[in-house]
Structure formats: structure tokens, C-alpha cells
Subunit: 102 residues, 2 copies
Amino acid sequence: MYVSVSRLRIEPDLAPQLLEAFRSRAHLVDTADGFIDLQVWQAERDLGEIWMVSRWRDRDCFRSYMRSDSHAVSHARIPPLLKEAIKLERLDHMSGYEVVAE
Amino acid sequence: MYVSVSRLRIEPDLAPQLLEAFRSRAHLVDTADGFIDLQVWQAERDLGEIWMVSRWRDRDCFRSYMRSDSHAVSHARIPPLLKEAIKLERLDHMSGYEVVAE
């Protein structure tokens, strides 16, 4: 199993709007080959620290989705004001992990 | 749902031993009230970066487990050499998250 983690940072005041955008997402990823699930995590100590965590059968499935029209369409739906407000925590804000034990 | 993330750092050469220790874990946590699942993630870009990710019904369940004998026994089983080899990524290496969207 492969996990992709995107760490986003936003002004805590804007966090509710970002979460609302996630909750009304298009769900296009749900039918992607190898997609398992997607969760959005909010840090208990910093409400402006928000992680998108998606799990995949393997890395190739994730990479195929990232190159797909579905991914482009999903990202195009993010309200421009929110897009501007999201400051990436670091340049390599997206990290990949292999699940190595359960 | 509540998620606890522990970020561990170890010399990459020792990572296989740490993963072996995880794989032979006592599984005492599995029956803790509110426990959902536990995964161990290894970063694809840095094999010495290993995360323990456990999911719980809520924060209180996690806190109760952390105070339990089961937790103490589980930690006591980690081989001392490995314990010494694990350098905590930062002092507050353990972070909690609320699952706010799926």
C-alpha cells in the first residue's frame, strides 16, 4: 500500500472554508484505479495545519491518477481565493510513504 | 476519528531491524477501547524516516491507551539497541489530528 501526504498551511481563520471545499469535493478520485481512501486531518495544536492523506494500492496507481484529467478537474474546482491563501508548508510538501507494517 | 502520528528517525541501515520489531509486535493495542488500526509508513525518499500512524475513535480513547499497562508492556518490548538508535525527529515528535473530512 502507498500513502501520499500533502501538508497544507492556511490562516486558521480560513480553515473552515478549506474544509468546506474538501467536504464538497467532486469525488472524482473515488473511482480511480487503485484508490483506497482519502482523509483530511487537522492538527489539534494548530488548526491551520491541514493534511490530505490518500491511500493507494501502489505508487503507480497514485502516479497515474496525478496525470489524469480527473485530477486536473478536481484541482480546478478549488476556489481561487482559497488557492491563494494556501501556503505550502515547504516546497516538497507532498511526500510518499510505503506501508511497511500493520 | 482521531489520528496519532509518531515520527521516528533511525539510521537507514537499521530500518529493517526496526520494521522487523514492529512486525513482531505484541498486538496488545488491537483490543484497546476505540482502537481502529495502526500502520507503519516508511518515506520513499528517506528510508530512515518511519512513521507510526494509529487511528482511534476519539482522542480520549488514545489517551486512555497511552496511560495503560498495555502501552507500557508494548514499549518495554522494544530491543534496547533499537531504542537507543531511534532519534526523535523533534521533541514534540508525536502529533495528534482530527479527521475532518473524507
